[in-house]
């Protein structure tokens, strides 16, 4: 039997006003196992803590119960206190007689009885509690960053700067991400490429950063500090060492494909770099569209066994460095990492669902992404704003905000956050390049919260004369060679019709299409829209609940560049904080298996939210036969206890919330 000490706090008058503290002490002293009980005005204060420590030593206590406030407030305080007196901090329980008793009740007698009952539960649990220890686990001080957009680049650079190795995995042929597509950035209007490309080069040249473009992560196993990750390096078909990036192959390749980077407004070749400033500056062959590889595939399908001569092969012929290598295969590599930063970015809402806006049928109704390429000097029109139907300069441009955002019926209920600002930027760019052009913006609300954001929108409205109309557009249809935009100006209370030459839709940012696979691979959670969930929306915004996985950028929620960079640096700081520890302490309140009882049904394995349960083969002590039993991976288990309740043979138990503790608490209560 443990020697339990009970310490009842007055909390000034917070508890003592409603609960008869003296009576709680007197009754607690009668509880089984209790060898000492006392009260004090402020148990958490220095003298109160000393009182507990002295009592532990003088009365040889080996379990402590403090009846005071919520454990959320002072559990750690008292655990540290009793650890200071040489007791294990886990043979400790708190009875919450403030938040859940004295503050919510006014009847003295009833509140005192309740406080007594809660104390009795705590005493019974403490008496059954076992000392727990945290084991130390090593850390692999290498980070993996998923996604080579601005978030991934920033996180990789920040981690690499502290001297740790980083592998940056990007599935496109080049890093750069969305930001590389942009022309200008709001609200400063500085050139996106001018601030991004130096960072891309820094990342590529950094001695601690390994770039893996045209690559994807296939499998993630392990846990914080010790992830084992399988990365597929897809065949580039170009030797990275030999290639000089001269671009002759791209010039001569005869196959043309719509360019993803230019939002389909220009064509690229089958051997390509997404853009001229690509990092690494080495093209890849898009095997699905390359004539040589299509020839090979067709030959394999014809299945008559004859060796088939591949048809094109021009790139290999013209390459002065002989870098083109059709025989390259995918490479699979497994590496160890201690932390993973997920910076996979977002996709855009597909406006073809908006049939009232043409659903993609009208050439002159374009998305914000397409407009971004249109005004970009590196884009298909070299920065000239033209109508895509006849390549003439538009005289009237209409922007429509919230296309797919704040729209429960056809889009998403959330605000995409960046559209107000980028529409103001687009409108400003139109006014700067075509001052005579009429520019209208249909908006629901202007959400310009950010440093210099409101001023930027006001400048577009007041100085540049962009006409902001508060209201929705109901329909767009062709009228002659123009587009008639029918909408409402809800502030003036009138219907509006505008004959526009060009309409730009500010489409919503949404989670990536393959987010479910990525989430499953990493065992991390998403919200109802598919954005990755943070550990706490306010206090742990860049961490995931799965320890060792950190989040940055628009994979979490629609974010603009400053927010993305801040989140990336935050995630990097968390990674570095993890790497600065000598080792990781495991969580002590976790599940454990009694192998003698385990039947090996592995129901626990199937329900564990964290994949923390594995199976192992043991030799049964009685039968001398080998059998399978469950095994808890102590580093991964988060201690929810779902498996314990699910175990049919009661072989699982949860340390710190053990069956015997809960049952003892219940019995102590019911005996009263």
């Amino acid at each position: 039997m443990r020697r339990v000490g009970v310490f009842v706090c007055w909390c000034g008058s917070n508890i003592a006003k409603t609960v008869d503290v003296k009576q709680v002490v007197a009754e607690a002293a009668k509880l089984p196992g209790v060898v000492y009980a006392t009260d004090y005005r402020y148990m958490c204060s220095e003298p109160g803590q000393k009182m507990i420590q002295d009592a532990i030593k003088e009365r040889h206590l080996d379990a402590v119960v403090v009846a005071s406030c919520s454990p959320t407030l002072h559990e750690t305080t008292f655990q540290n206190c009793i650890a200071g007196a040489g007791l294990n901090p886990y043979v400790f329980q708190m009875a919450n007689i403030r938040e859940q008793c004295s503050w919510v009740h006014s009847d003295h007698d009833l509140a005192t009885v309740k406080a007594l009952d809660q104390t009795a539960i705590a005493v019974a649990e403490a008496a059954k509690g076992k000392p727990l220890s945290r084991s130390q686990m090593p850390i692999t001080r290498r980070a993996l960053v998923l996604g080579g957009g601005i978030a991934g680049i920033q996180a990789a650079l920040d981690i690499a700067e502290t001297g740790h190795e980083v592998t940056l995995v990007e599935r496109q042929p080049s890093i750069g991400g969305r930001m590389a597509q942009f022309d200008k950035t709001f609200p400063t209007m500085d050139c996106s490429a001018c601030i991004l490309t130096p960072k891309m080069v820094d990342a590529a040249k950094h001695p601690n950063i390994t770039l893996m473009t045209w690559s994807e992560v296939e499998k993630v196993a392990g846990y914080v500090g010790n992830f084992e990750v399988t990365i597929r390096k897809r065949a580039r078909s170009v030797n990275m060492e030999k290639c000089t990036g001269c671009g002759v192959c791209e010039e001569k390749c005869p196959t043309k494909v719509p360019s993803e980077f230019d939002a389909g407004m220009r064509e690229r070749k089958a051997i390509f770099r997404p853009f001229p400033q690509a990092v690494p500056n080495v093209p890849v062959i898009d095997r699905e569209n390359c004539r040589y590889f299509r020839g090979l595939a067709a030959a394999a399908e014809s299945a008559d066994g004859k060796p088939v001569k591949a048809r094109c092969g021009v790139c290999a012929k013209v390459c002065p460095a002989e870098a083109v290598d059709y025989d390259q295969g995918d490479e699979l590599m497994t590496e160890k990492f201690g932390a993973i930063v997920v910076a996979t970015g977002c996709d855009l809402y597909d406006p073809s669902r908006m049939t009232e806006y043409g659903g993609g049928r009208f050439a002159d109704v374009i998305t914000g992404e397409q407009f971004e390429r249109l005004v970009n000097v590196g884009g298909p029109t070299e920065g000239h704003i033209v109508r895509l139907s006849n390549h003439e300069e538009p005289k009237t441009v209409v922007f429509i905000q919230c296309v797919g955002s704040r729209d429960d019926t056809k889009g998403y209920p959330y605000c995409s956050k960046v559209c107000c600002m980028y529409t103001a930027k687009h409108a400003t760019l139109v006014k700067e390049k075509l001052p005579e052009c009429e520019v209208y913006v249909f908006y629901m609300d202007i959400r310009a919260a950010g440093k210099n954001y409101e001023e930027f929108v006001r400048r577009a409205q007041e100085e540049l004369g962009v006409k902001y109309l508060r209201g929705r557009v109901s329909r767009i249809y062709p009228e002659g060679d123009k587009l008639r935009v029918k909408g409402a100006d809800s502030l003036a209370g009138v219907a509006v019709e505008i004959d526009a030459d060009l309409v730009v839709l500010a489409t919503a940012l949404r989670a990536r299409d393959d987010v479910a696979q990525v989430a499953r691979m990493l065992s991390i959670q998403t919200d109802q829209y598919g954005f990755f969930s943070e550990a706490h929306p306010k206090l742990r915004p860049v961490e995931n609940l799965f320890a060792g996985i950190y989040l940055a950028g628009a994979c979490q929620y629609p974010r603009d560049i400053p927010d993305t960079v801040a989140a990336a640096s935050g995630a990097a700081a968390k990674v570095c904080a993890l790497f600065s520890k000598p080792s990781i302490l495991s969580e002590p309140l976790i599940a454990e298996v009694n192998a003698a009882r385990c039947s090996g049904c592995l129901t626990c394995k199937s329900i564990c939210p964290f994949d923390a349960i594995d199976s192992e083969v043991i030799k049964d002590r009685l039968t001398r036969e080998e059998r399978t039993v469950a095994k808890v991976n102590e580093a991964v288990c988060q201690g929810c206890g779902g498996c314990v309740a699910a175990c049919r043979s009661a072989a699982l138990n949860l340390r710190g919330y053990a069956d015997e503790m809960i049952l003892a608490g219940m019995e102590a209560l019911c005996q009263r």
Binding site: Q100, C640, Y657
Partner: protein
């Protein structure tokens, strides 16, 4: 003095560690904190406190326990019928615990967790929801009125909801008691149970 009384650190013992006379808060708290009879051994509790229906609440530590704390922070008053057991997740609650609580004489049992989709452990409360959906109708089969059991989702920001649930449960149980649907509190169950006895979980998932 009996052995029991020796364990109690009397005011004198406490004074040895921290003399009361030196406490700056003496004047402030003495009147409120010290209740009549507090100096000597307290009077026995009146019988009426023992007769009210009691509810055992299993509260998940991340949402519902925090919600109950919030009710305290907001000083929301609710009946004293509830006793709280903190669990890491509502999924930790083995339906066998609920059965045991009824068997030991609890009048009502509340299991509360995060709202579906908000579980700290991502999907623990989904398991709770399934388990309890199967478990609750089964109570009637065992002769336990299913109205004595409730499963609720109470988030950390829903102090008022916690208070409301307790009020409702207390009223419901009083009503059941009036109707004679609550059995008398058993006297000998605990004595008949073995120390280490465990009920194998009836739940499979």
């Amino acid at each position: 003095m009996s052995a029991v009384e020796e364990k109690v650190a009397t005011s004198g013992a406490a004074a040895r560690m921290e003399p009361r006379s030196s406490s700056p808060l003496q004047g402030e708290d003495q009147g409120e904190g010290e209740r009549p009879g507090g100096q000597t051994l307290p009077r026995p509790l009146p019988e009426r406190e023992r007769s009210a229906p009691r509810v055992l609440a299993f509260l998940c530590r991340w949402c519902s326990y925090a919600g109950a704390d919030l009710a305290g922070g907001g000083r929301l008053q609710y009946p004293t019928n509830v006793r709280v057991l903190r669990v890491p997740c509502s999924a930790r609650v083995d339906p066998a615990f609920v059965l045991r609580a009824f068997r030991l004489g609890m009048d009502g049992v509340l299991v509360a967790g995060c709202h579906p989709g908000d579980c700290h452990y991502s999907k623990g409360n989904f398991y709770t929801r399934r388990r309890m959906a199967i478990f609750k109708p089964w109570l009637g089969y065992l002769g336990i009125d299913p109205r004595r059991f409730r499963l609720e989702w109470i988030s950390a920001s829903e102090g008022h909801r916690f208070a409301q649930v307790i009020r409702e449960m207390a009223a419901d149980l009083e009503e059941l008691k009036r109707q004679g649907e609550l059995p008398a509190r058993p006297e000998s169950v605990i004595a008949s149970e073995g120390e280490e006895s465990r009920i194998a979980s009836p739940s499979t998932m």
